[in-house]
Every structure is written in structure tokens, then in C-alpha cells.
Amino acid sequence: MLVKRTIPLLITGIVGAVLIFSKLFPAAESLGEDFSIYFDIIAVFAFVLGGGNLVKIHADKIYKQAKGWGYSVVCVVGFFATLIIGLTKMHNPEGIAGDLSAQGSYFQLIYAFIFKPLAATMFALLAFYVASASYRAFRAKNLEATVLLVSAFIILLGRTFIGTWLSFWTPHGEGFGIPQLAEWIMNYPNLAGQRAIMIGIALGIVSTSLKIILGVDRGYLGTDSD
């Protein structure tokens, strides 16, 4: 109980309180930076656990020939290849003492010609998903969805030449065109809504932090029992 409950609660409470008070007492300002460094040190050790866990799980899947074990082979081979090439600085023009990212090194080539294109491919999927999600969101199935559809339509028109073209008959010099209407939607209803959400988030963060510092919410320890 002492190790699993009391000590973690004490550490959380003390660190949280010190960070709050460091805002008020200038002499304690540097403590915030110190705690960030402690976090980085702990995270470095967790890296080892994470990598070990990754290999253990995929090695297990390969051994059991579980569903999709072929992907696990790719993962483990890629992991080991990158690890060995990175550690030995293979084909690094500056040698073993050189910069890991030196141009021409195999590690840099893996990053530039395998890792980056793969990451960019995943990111590019977003373009298609935006279209499919928009299609569902913009179906005018109720009042809210209709308001959303109309607002989005005005903003889409207002941000293209078509908005200006369609507004030829309006006195848009006085702010009556579709582009001006699109700007108004962005600057007033949209911004007001966003700020309301931000205020709520700020208060939620304060409340959550306070509950954790005071030990009222112990959900991160698994249970609420003392």
C-alpha cells in the first residue's frame, strides 16, 4: 500500500504544489525546468521497455504464426536493420564518430527514402478521409446539420473566386458580399464558439490538476480505494 498508493500520491501532490507555487515565488521558477528534466530521464528508461515490448510481442506472433504474422516479420526485420545500421553508423562519410544524420549514410537514406515517404503516404490518406467524413457530416438530416451545411457552403464559396463572382450584384465594398459573409462567420460565431470551448478546457484542466494533486481522483492508480 505504501509503495503502490501513498508514495505515488505524495510525489504527485508535492511536485504539483511546487510547480504551482513556482509561478508565485520567483526563486522557485527554475524548479519547473528541473522537473521537466527529471521527466526526460524517466522517459529514457521507458524507451527501453517500449522497444523490448515491441520486439517481444512481434516475436511471439511470428513464433505462433498468429494472424498477420507476416507484418510482424517486416516490423522486426525493419527494427533490427535500422538499429544495427544506426548503431554501427554504416556507410557514414564521417565515420563512427560522425553525425548520425550525415548525408549519404545508410541511416539517413533509410530516413529519407523509406521512413519519410511512408509517413507522408499515411498523412496523405487524410485528404480522402476529409472528403468521406465531410460527406456524412454535411447531410442535412436535422437542423444543426443543416446550419453546418449552409455555413460550410458559404465559407467554401467565400474562400474561392466563385464567391466574389456571385457577389457582383451586392454592395460588397460595404461588406455585403459572400467573401465578407464568410469572414464574418469565421470571425464571430466560429471564434466565439472556439473561445467558449477554450475557457471550458482551461477550467477543466484546473479542476483535473487540483483533483490529482489533492489525491481526490486516484483513477490513474487503478482504484479509488485507500
Binding site: E29, G51, A119, F123, Y129, A133
Partner: protein, 598 residues
């Protein structure tokens, strides 16, 4: 044999790896940042250019640069794109002796960009300019920077710092682009002018002694700055001294003045440059680490120089009469409004927690997304499919991840009670270890320790889109009946939610990333908006103490709404009455909500 292979595969390889992995974990991070910025949806790893070291480029580049004397012909006949908008300025915030040359690599796509840049320098004298190379480097080297434009886009900019110069002398620069072919050159060109020299430019004067004061004046036409004062900046940790002055008579925007602030430990000097500000400013904050300790032994005298547009002639003010030292204060009174809010809000939260503990009833608005959590776990149980829980992609130092882990504890308990399969792939090792402890404790408290195993919470990768690929793979293979996304999400939010939608899962999301909320709302069945994510833990726990904190939070919102309403009314009245008492009230409300120190 089979047993040996089993043990080797299961434990041998991972154990061997743990010894070497720590050395390589930061590898990709050196090439591109793994953590997405809280204000960006696009991962920095995609935006960051690959920058080989200067030494590598110098070694790879051919030595002994040769080039023809610049002329109209070889500029206009250049096969490659010339540099544009080249500028040379004194390098800011240095100890002197350096000039910074910048240019845009290729403003148009009509010609290929140079592969190599050569910077040439000549000292400006009365005679002809004699240029000599002072730098040669690859166009894709660390000299290639990006800087934000006014519209927020990033613009490529090449930057070269020429060091080892003599302060006060004038220099002229040229930039030569090469594509590796000895016959192709491009010199700096702008508009219709075929060849433009950059400069002349001088390195700023960094030091002087008081006896030089009049000699440095040169052709400076105005008087020196007047009324120079220096004082410790209050409410800080003794790291700042504020210097203020009055501009010389006749100084205006057209005179192109700048001010340089110098300090010395003795009135007679030597005075050292601390920094410079534009001609419209008359305040300079000298900030340095542990300035109080340094100035306690040797307090400083300050003097301010008004510098002419040519950057050489300057008129120096009288130095301050008394030496000044920085002092550390115990309490930062600038933060009084922060303390006030913290105390009031905390007071309300604690009051309502006590109020509920005494047995009083409290109305809590139903949150549809949280009501659906139990229902969705039940659906997964009935279908015999797993529940997928994604705790965001940030680490444990993000409050959203903390909230997500707290909620995971509640959900894991329900999952254990229903005897359903739970999958929690994480993108940070620390989140994995914390998540494991949380889930394990939840299973124990549900009376199902036997149902727990470490494979419930797993680590995939720190890389944003590698993680997305991994999670999408799990979704497609395992076909979970319920996908729950609680925590900090960036560009991956829609990719995850759309994949979950494509497999027909019930999806519940919650984040405080305002930019990602529309994606979740469009693609998920239920979405917790902003603060609801932080309320979720209390809501799911049904714990009276925690429900009390929700009431305190609501009081904070009420105070905010009243302040906005009252401030808006008084600001509107002030517009019609020209200020007066209404303006004063509106100003006081703004002050109450504005961080002073910021």
C-alpha cells in the same frame, strides 16, 4: 529444440535488445522531431528539412573555387536560378565581428536551383572592390532555414554568418550560385539590375571607453539620448534590469535612428554592448541568468547610444549616476490575478467536494458520450469482439493523457467485469507502463486479476504516422466492436476515426484539441467536447467527491460568463460615452483577466 527456440524468440531477443536499444532510441528524433507541436496538425517530422552537417558538405564539395568576373553576360546567360532578395546585416546579439548574409534560394521555377553557394566578400575602400570567397556550401546544408511569412506559410531562406570581421569597417558581399557545372553561374540579381552588390555593411561597435565618447560621434547630426535611468525589474528572480531614456530632440521615424545600450562596471568604462532596439522604442530590458549574483559584486553603469542610419556614427548619452544591481524578490506580485483565480476556483471546488460529502444531492447533466461507454462495452461483449482504447499520442506530461489514463482505469474495470477483450496500443513508452499499472489495478479491483496480461497495453512507436499505421492495422485485423479515443490528438484523428467507421465500430472520442474536434464530431458516434473529457473521470466514477469538483468547475464558468457579459456592456457604453467610468470598469475587468508578467 522447439523449447529453446520458443525461449529465445520470446525472451532472449528482447533481453538482448534492451541492452542496446537505449543507445538508438533518439536516432530518428535527431533527424526529425517525433512529437507533434500542440499548435500544429502536421508533424514536424514531415516539415523539417534534412540537413547534413557543414563539415560533411565541405568535405564533399570541390575545393579551389573558380569563377569568372561577374558581368551582364554570365548573369543573364546563367543556366541556374540566381539568388534573390539578398541582404547583409550586422549579426544580432553577438559580441561583434560578424555580418549575416541572407538570400532566397530560388524565387521562380524557370531554372533549376543551384547545388552550391559561394559567398564572396570585399572590403569597401576608395579603390576597386576585390572579392574573395569566404564561404562555400551545399544548397541543402544547415544554412538553409525556413522563416514564417505574414500569412503563416514557411519560406526558404539561406543564411550565412561571416565571422572574424573588424568592427566599424564596411564590407560588400556577392552570392554566387553553382550547379556543379563549371560553366554555369548565377550572381545576385534583383529586378532589372544584372549584378547587385550587397552592402556595404558594418559590424556593430561592441565596446568603447568613456574617453572615446566624442570621437565616435562622427557626422551624427542630433543630440545624444537624455535622462537615462536604470533600475531593477520588480517581481522577478533577479534576472532583469530595465533601462529607459528620452530620445534626442528632432529624432523621428524618418531619421532612421536605432539605440544601443552599453554597460560598464566603472564610470570610465570599458562599456560593453548589451543589445539594440529600434528607434521607436525607449526601453531596454537587460536579461541575464543569475544577474543578481553578478551585479551584487559589480553593479553596473549604463549608457545609451543613438546610432545614425549608416550604422557607424553614434551619440552616447551621459552614463547613469549610480551603479545598479539586479535583486531577486520573494513574491511575484505581478501574478496577483493568477493567485486570486487559483484560490477562488480551488475554494469553490473544495467547498462543493465537502458539500457533497455531507450527503447533499447534486444534479449532474447527462453526457451522452459517457452514457454510451457502458453500452458500447456491452455491445462488444455480446459480439465477442474487443474494445480498442487509444489514449492519444502525447506523453504523460500532457494533462489530456493523464485524463485519458484516469478514464482508462474506469473503462478497464467495466471491461474486466464484462469479461471482454481490451486492446490499448500506445505511442509512448511511459504511457504504456502507466497504462499497464492502471489496467492491472482495475482488473484486480474488479476481482479479475486472472484476466489481466501485459499484452493488453502495448507500445507501437513514437512516430505519429507509424503509430496510425499500427493502430489501423489492429483495427482491420481485430475488428473491434468499440473504438474509444480519449486524449491529445493531432492530424491522425480523422485517419483513426474514419478507419474505425469503415469497420462498423461504435466510436466515442474526447479531446481538448479544439482543432481536432470537428473531425471527431464528423466521424464518431459520440464526442466529448473539451472540458467533458476532464469531467469524464468524475462522471464514470460516480464518486460524490469527484462530482463535487464538477460543480466547482461550473462556478468558474459562470464567473467567466458574468465577466464577459459585464465587460462587454461597459466597453459598449464606453464607446458611446468616450470612456469615463464605464471605460475604467471595462479596463479593470480586462486587467483582471490579463497575465501581467506576460
Amino acid at each position: 529444440m522447439g523449447l529453446a527456440i520458443r525461449y529465445l524468440t520470446r525472451w532472449g531477443i528482447p533481453l538482448a535488445l534492451t541492452l542496446t536499444l537505449a543507445l538508438a532510441t533518439g536516432a530518428f528524433a535527431q533527424l526529425g522531431s517525433a512529437n507533434p507541436s500542440p499548435t500544429m496538425s502536421v508533424p514536424p517530422s514531415l516539415a523539417a528539412p534534412v540537413v547534413p552537417s557543414a563539415e560533411a558538405i565541405a568535405a564533399a564539395s570541390a575545393p579551389a573555387p573558380t569563377w569568372p568576373e561577374p558581368s551582364i553576360e554570365n548573369t543573364y546567360n546563367a543556366k541556374i536560378c540566381p539568388a534573390a532578395d539578398a541582404k547583409a546585416v550586422d549579426r544580432p546579439e553577438d559580441a561583434g565581428g560578424a555580418v549575416r548574409v541572407t538570400w532566397k534560394p530560388c524565387p521562380n521555377a524557370d531554372a533549376p536551383s543551384p547545388k552550391t553557394w559561394v559567398v564572396l566578400r570585399a572590403e569597401k575602400t576608395d579603390g576597386p572592390l576585390v572579392f574573395a570567397p569566404v564561404g562555400q556550401f551545399s544548397a541543402m546544408s544547415e544554412h538553409l532555414k525556413t522563416e514564417p511569412k505574414r500569412n503563416g506559410d514557411l519560406e526558404a531562406l539561406t543564411q550565412f554568418d561571416d565571422k572574424g570581421l573588424v568592427d566599424g569597417r564596411s564590407y560588400v558581399y556577392r552570392v554566387l550560385g553553382r550547379d556543379g557545372d563549371a560553366n554555369a553561374y548565377a550572381f545576385v540579381a534583383a529586378g532589372d539590375t544584372p549584378l547587385v552588390n550587397i552592402g556595404p555593411v558594418s559590424s556593430e561597435r561592441q565596446t568603447f571607453v568613456w574617453s572615446e565618447r566624442d570621437a565616435l560621434r562622427g557626422s551624427f547630426a542630433l543630440g545624444a539620448p537624455d535622462g537615462v535611468t536604470a533600475a531593477d525589474r520588480p517581481n522577478d528572480a533577479g534576472e532583469e534590469i530595465r533601462v529607459e531614456w528620452t530620445p534626442p530632440a528632432g529624432a523621428d521615424a524618418a531619421t532612421g535612428l536605432t539605440y544601443r545600450v552599453f554597460s560598464a562596471t566603472k564610470p570610465e568604462g570599458p562599456y560593453t554592448l548589451l543589445g539594440a532596439v529600434g528607434g521607436s522604442k525607449t526601453i531596454f530590458d537587460y536579461k541575464a541568468e543569475k544577474l543578481d549574483e553578478k551585479t551584487e559584486k559589480e553593479p553596473l553603469y549604463f549608457a545609451v547610444a543613438a546610432v545614425a542610419a549608416n550604422g557607424v556614427d553614434l551619440a552616447i548619452s551621459e552614463h547613469t549616476n549610480e551603479p545598479v544591481a539586479a535583486k531577486s524578490q520573494w513574491v511575484n506580485l505581478d501574478e496577483w490575478n493568477f493567485v486570486l483565480f487559483a484560490v477562488v476556483l480551488s475554494g469553490f471546488i473544495l467547498y462543493f467536494i465537502q458539500h457533497i460529502k455531507s450527503g447533499k444531492k447534486l444534479f449532474v447533466r447527462k453526457i451522452a458520450g459517457l452514457e454510451a461507454v457502458e453500452e458500447s462495452i456491452g455491445r462488444a461483449t455480446e459480439m465477442g469482439k474487443p474494445v480498442l482504447y487509444i489514449p492519444g499520442i502525447m506523453d504523460m506530461n500532457d494533462v489530456m493523457t493523464v485524463a485519458a489514463i484516469v478514464i482508462l482505469g474506469r473503462i478497464a474495470r467495466q471491461v474486466a467485469e464484462y469479461d471482454t477483450k481490451l486492446l490499448v496500443p500506445t505511442s509512448k513508452s511511459l504511457v504504456m507502463t502507466t497504462g499497464r499499472e492502471t489496467v492491472k489495478e482495475a482488473f484486480i479491483s474488479a476481482g479479475r486479476p486472472d484476466a489481466y496480461n501485459d499484452n493488453i497495453v502495448t507500445y507501437l512507436t513514437d512516430e505519429q504516422f507509424g503509430y496510425v499505421a499500427g493502430v489501423n492495422g489492429i483495427m482491420v485485423r481485430e475488428k473491434p466492436a468499440t473504438c474509444i479515443y480519449f486524449g491529445a490528438f493531432f492530424a491522425e484523428s480523422l485517419i483513426l476515426a474514419e478507419t474505425g467507421n469503415s469497420i462498423g465500430a461504435i466510436q466515442i472520442a474526447g479531446t481538448a484539441q479544439a482543432a481536432q474536434l470537428p473531425f471527431f464530431i464528423a466521424a464518431c458516434d459520440y464526442t466529448l467536447i473539451g472540458e467533458e473529457l476532464f469531467a469524464a473521470s468524475a462522471y464514470l466514477s460516480h464518486d460524490p467527491k469527484q462530482l463535487g469538483s464538477l460543480k466547482g468547475q461550473d462556478i468558474g464558468k459562470l464567473a467567466g460568463m458574468v465577466a464577459i457579459l459585464v465587460g462587454g456592456v461597459f466597453a459598449t457604453i464606453a464607446q458611446f460615452t468616450g470612456g469615463g467610468w464605464a471605460g475604467a470598469v471595462a479596463g479593470a475587468i480586462v486587467k483582471l483577466f490579463t497575465p501581467i508578467a506576460g
